[in-house]
């Protein structure tokens, strides 16, 4: 479909709409970036399996016209590992929320990264549990308001990029929903990368996070993504080191991909038989 002009209707299941996301939610931009990425890569819809867990973000899997597996909270990467290892020709994409990926699913996240299995993990970071109504997540950080932190949070946050790097992910990148084109390009690179790819996308939850933390409406929150982030290594960091960096932090091609490594195990085991 590469040569055809992009039409989102080619990639969604209209039966599933309207979607469940609140007005102003950033998740729709992630969805559109993902679909544009798939379109530009010219992938066949039959070769894509999208696996998700539970939460607002996880509903993406149902909206797209790929093979879709909407699983249980936090465990999407383990289901996707089974899909990918059993049929390595498939492209495995796993959109996750911040709580889904890094609280209940944190163990699967670091182990999938350690194995370097060829899965593209998209962490849709809105710094809150949206579906359950605004509880703080491991990415909220200190001093934030949430329904479970009425006196503000004392929990420190993970840095998804640092965590993914340390756990051994071979492609690590970050973008925001304000930078929709960059987002699409990074997802494209993540999908094309042979190995475990982590794409963190900052996406606003005006309903819970924004309102509770007085960060304004959706427009204001997106404006903040524009002003508070810079490209990796930007000169602006010298003056303002607190700015969040965007771009590709890790892109390693010298680490064996898990399914390919297992193919060599099969060769060895079969030789032993002969």
């Amino acid at each position: 479909m590469k040569n055809k002009k992009f039409d989102f209707k080619d990639y969604i299941r209209q039966r599933f709409f309207p979607h469940i996301w609140c007005p102003g939610c950033g998740h729709g931009i992630v969805l559109s970036s993902l679909l544009r990425a798939v379109h530009e890569l010219g992938l066949n819809k039959n070769e894509i399996v999208i696996t998700s867990g539970i939460g607002c973000s996880s509903r993406i899997s149902g909206y797209v016209d790929f093979h879709s597996l909407h699983t249980i909270h936090g465990r999407a990467l383990s289901f996707a590992t089974g899909v990918k290892l059993s049929k390595p020709d498939l492209k495995a994409i796993v959109p996750m929320g911040d709580g889904d990926a890094l609280a209940i699913g944190g163990n699967h996240f670091i182990h999938a990264a350690r194995r370097n299995i060829d899965i593209t993990a998209i962490v849709m970071n809105n710094r809150i549990y949206g579906m359950t109504g605004g509880q703080f997540s491991p990415l909220s950080g200190c001093g934030k308001q949430a329904t479970t932190a009425p006196y503000s949070t004392i929990d420190r946050e993970f840095d998804v990029v640092d965590l993914a790097k340390s756990a051994g992910a071979t492609f690590v990148a970050r973008s925001t929903v304000f930078h929709a084109n960059e987002c699409k390009d990074i997802i494209k690179k993540g999908i094309n990368h042979k190995g475990f790819s982590v794409v963190e996308i900052l996406t606003q939850c005006p309903t819970y996070y924004g309102r509770k933390n007085k960060e304004g409406d959706a427009v204001q929150m997106m404006e903040n993504y524009k002003t508070n982030t810079v490209k990796i290594g930007s000169k602006k960091l010298e003056k303002n080191p607190g700015l969040i960096q965007r771009g590709i932090f890790v892109e390693k091609n010298d680490v064996p991909e898990y399914c390919e490594a297992y193919d060599r195990i099969i060769e060895t085991a079969m030789k032993g038989q002969a």
Partner: protein, 383 residues
């Protein structure tokens, strides 16, 4: 009989051989006593036949991985014991709801909690039935010797495919660890059920969750030409989330009926000397060995005693048990727990007061002597 088809192995290995015979393609697991040998042997055996083995980061992930692999069209299994079986329960419920064929072996050890890892127990019978939340039905099979462990493992894979459901293999530490002879059947000797795939052509609307007239749901592999949604939410015939009361009620009824309505096909058992039995020992797994041992021994002394060995624990074969026990003076359920199957048997028979429990819960295999003491008491002979 060729010598290379005869093995002298542990029960856990007999389970592995059964899985290979049934056509297992994919295994994910996590080490836990006393089931670890299943994991170890499949790590060696699966890649030899081009299959895949993965040691996951935990029990939950293992369960997730086999469900994912099953959806690509593979025959899948995981193995665990007590604490690991607890951890798998949420994903096991997912497999019930999304109707994913898979086999879960639980080599039972003493519990609750970490319990008695290297010793035998049969304390997970009810957990196999009700471990995951919500209403559902489940198939759970067990066996008392290696030849039968092999066979019920094949049956487990077959039933998982036939009914699109998780099947629990409830083995126990004694059977899993002891070594005895296994004769591996020739190919074709035991039936092997392959996955039922849809005949709906690409481009035609495929309904992954619309049962055929016979209740079966043909599948389409992930990667194939039918793209559909799989979810743990209540869903319609396309697999789309739906909480319409008719859809919810209908799906739950389907999940239960597809198993309970086939209880006669799923129900497997063995009987010994039941024809004229005044005393019936009902048992399963390693306890059944002691029951058979005692019955043989008492028969030689003229006592009319028989054994009903259950191989299907769930769905519970209520009708069969009622019929078999109709003429008995007393029924003794022999099991290594505080009375999990005995409750079901009391519900099944016409005279619950004639049902007794001979149990052992100390981590040792219940012995024929243990059962004999109760039998003598019931006979009014004193201990």
């Amino acid at each position: 009989m060729k010598n290379n088809n005869i093995r002298f192995i542990q029960g856990n290995e007999a389970c592995v051989e059964g899985a290979i015979y049934a056509g297992i393609d994919f295994f994910a697991g996590y080490p836990i006593t006393p089931s670890t040998e299943i994991l170890e042997h499949l790590a060696a055996r699966l890649p030899q036949k081009g299959g895949k083995f993965i040691q996951m980061e935990d029990e939950i992930a293992s369960m997730g991985a086999i469900i994912g692999a099953s959806l690509t069209g593979k025959k899948v299994m995981t193995a665990t014991s007590g604490p690991g079986f607890s951890l798998k329960q949420e994903a096991l419920g997912y497999a019930c709801m999304a109707e994913i064929p898979c086999v879960i072996a639980n080599v039972q050890r003493g519990g609750p909690s970490t319990g008695n890892p290297t010793h035998v127990s049969q304390g997970d019978v009810n957990q196999a039935r009700w471990g995951t939340h919500g209403d559902h039905s489940i198939i759970a099979l067990t066996a008392s010797n290696h030849q039968d462990v092999f066979k019920i493992t094949v049956d487990a894979f077959n039933m998982a495919e036939t009914y699109r459901t998780p099947v629990v293999l409830l083995l126990d530490e004694t059977i899993g660890h002891m070594r005895e002879k296994l004769v591996i059947p020739e190919p074709g000797e035991l039936p092997v059920v392959e996955r039922l795939r849809t005949s709906v052509k690409g481009g035609v609307d495929y309904h992954p969750y619309l049962p055929r007239d016979d209740g079966r749901l043909p599948m389409s592999d992930f990667g194939g030409e039918h793209r559909y949604n799989v979810t743990g939410l209540f869903h319609d015939m396309w697999g789309f989330p739906n909480n319409n009361p008719n859809v919810v009620g209908g799906l739950l009824r389907h999940l239960v009926d597809k198993i309970e309505n086939n209880v006669n096909d799923i129900c497997m058992y063995k009987e010994y000397w039941l024809d004229d039995a005044e005393y019936i020992l009902i048992s399963y797994g390693s306890s059944a060995r002691s029951a058979i041992h005692l019955a043989k021994n008492r028969r030689a002394r003229g006592i009319k005693i028989g054994v009903l060995e259950l191989q299907t624990l769930w769905p519970f074969p209520t009708e069969m048990i009622r019929e078999k026990c109709a003429g008995a003076k007393a029924v003794i359920v022999v099991e290594m727990n505080m009375g999990q199957v005995v409750t079901q048997v009391k519900n099944a028979v016409d005279n619950p007061n004639s049902v007794f429990l001979a149990n052992k819960i100390s981590g040792e295999l219940i012995s024929p002597e243990d059962i004999k003491s109760l039998l003598r008491m019931i006979q009014g002979k004193g201990v």
